[in-house]
C-alpha cells in the first residue's frame, strides 16, 4: 500500500538536484567523490595527509541548518527510535559503510551517476537490507 498523505515528490526531487550539484561541485573543485562515510572515515586513518578538506566539508554540513534557518525554520521531525537501537544502528552504519566503501551518497548518488557496477550492487543490497529490516521491525 502506498502512503500518499505524506508524499512530497517535488521538494524531494528539488532537494536531490541540490545534493547532486553539491557532489559535482566537490568533484570539480577538490577532485573528490562526495561520499559522506568515506569523508568521515578518512579522518580516522593515520596515514592520510589530506585531512583539511574533509574537516571543512563536514563543517559545511554541520553548519547548513544554521544557513537554512535564516530563511525558514527547520521542518519539524520526530525521532521515535529508542536510545539503545540508535547506538546499535550507528555502529552498524559506521562499520558497514567502511567495509562496503560507501553509503547513500557515495554509492547511491555519486556511484550511480558514474554508472559504477559496484555502486549499483551496493545500492541494491543496502536498500533491500533496509526494506527487510523495517519489515521485521513491525513484529516487535
Amino acid at each position: 500500500m502506498v502512503d500518499l498523505t505524506e508524499f512530497t515528490p517535488f521538494s524531494s526531487f528539488v532537494g536531490g538536484i541540490i545534493i547532486g550539484l553539491a557532489a559535482v561541485l566537490l568533484l570539480l573543485t577538490n577532485g573528490r567523490i562526495a561520499g559522506i562515510s568515506g569523508i568521515i572515515g578518512g579522518l580516522l586513518q593515520k596515514k592520510s595527509n589530506d585531512q583539511v578538506w574533509r574537516i571543512v566539508f563536514i563543517l559545511g554540513l554541520v553548519l547548513s541548518p544554521f544557513l537554512y534557518t535564516i530563511f525558514q525554520p527547520l521542518p519539524p521531525l520526530s525521532i521515535q527510535t529508542p536510545t539503545p537501537i540508535i547506538i546499535i544502528a550507528g555502529v552498524l552504519v559506521g562499520f558497514g559503510t567502511r567495509l562496503g566503501s560507501g553509503c547513500t551518497s557515495g554509492h547511491g548518488i555519486c556511484g550511480l551517476s558514474r554508472l559504477s557496477g559496484r555502486s549499483f550492487i551496493a545500492t541494491f543490497v543496502f536498500m533491500l537490507a533496509g526494506f527487510i529490516t523495517v519489515y521485521i521491525k513491525h513484529f516487535f
Binding site: S12, L21, I40, T133
Partner: protein
C-alpha cells in the same frame, strides 16, 4: 597555503553547506520519513526515491562530462574511484549499513546535519564513529595476518 589550495578548501566548505541544504530540503534528514520510505511492505511513502532521481538527474550528465577531466578547477588531481571488483566486503558492508539505516532511519550525511539540533543525531554520530574505528581495528588486524 597558496591561492589554489585556499580556493579548493573554500569550495569544499561551500559544497558541504549546499549538500546539507539539499538534505534538509529533500527531507532526507527526517528519520521517520526514511523509515516510511523503507516500509515497502507496509505503508510505503515513495518520496525519497525522488531524492535519488533528482541527484542522478543532474549527477549523471555532469559526472559523465567530467569523466575526461583529470584535474580540478584549481589544477589538483581528480581521484576517480578505481575499484571495479564486486566482493564479499562490498556486499556484507552494504547489508550491515542497510540494517542500521532501517533500524534508526539515519545515514551519515543527515546525522551530521542534525548533530547540533537533536541529541539522537549526536548519539548516532558518536556511535557511527565507534563503528568506523572498529572497522579500522578489524582492517588493521586483517592486513597484519596477510
Amino acid at each position: 597555503m597558496n591561492t589554489a589550495h585556499f580556493m579548493a578548501l573554500l569550495f569544499s566548505f561551500i559544497s558541504g553547506l549546499i549538500f546539507g541544504l539539499g538534505l534538509i530540503v529533500s527531507a532526507m534528514i527526517n528519520p521517520q520519513k526514511v523509515i516510511s520510505f523503507l516500509d515497502l511492505f507496509g505503508k510505503w511513502d515513495p518520496s525519497l526515491a525522488f531524492v535519488m532521481l533528482g541527484a542522478i538527474f543532474v549527477g549523471l550528465p555532469l559526472f559523465t562530462l567530467s569523466k575526461k577531466k583529470s584535474r580540478t578547477w584549481f589544477n589538483q588531481p581528480i581521484f576517480w574511484p578505481s575499484l571495479t571488483k564486486v566482493d564479499t566486503k562490498l556486499i556484507a558492508g552494504s547489508a550491515l549499513f542497510g540494517i542500521g539505516w532501517g533500524l534508526a532511519g539515519f545515514c551519515p550525511g543527515p546525522a551530521l546535519v542534525l548533530v547540533t539540533q537533536y541529541k539522537e543525531a549526536l548519539l548516532f554520530t558518536v556511535s557511527l564513529l565507534m563503528g568506523m574505528a572498529l572497522f579500522e581495528l578489524y582492517d588493521h588486524h586483517l592486513s597484519r595476518k596477510k
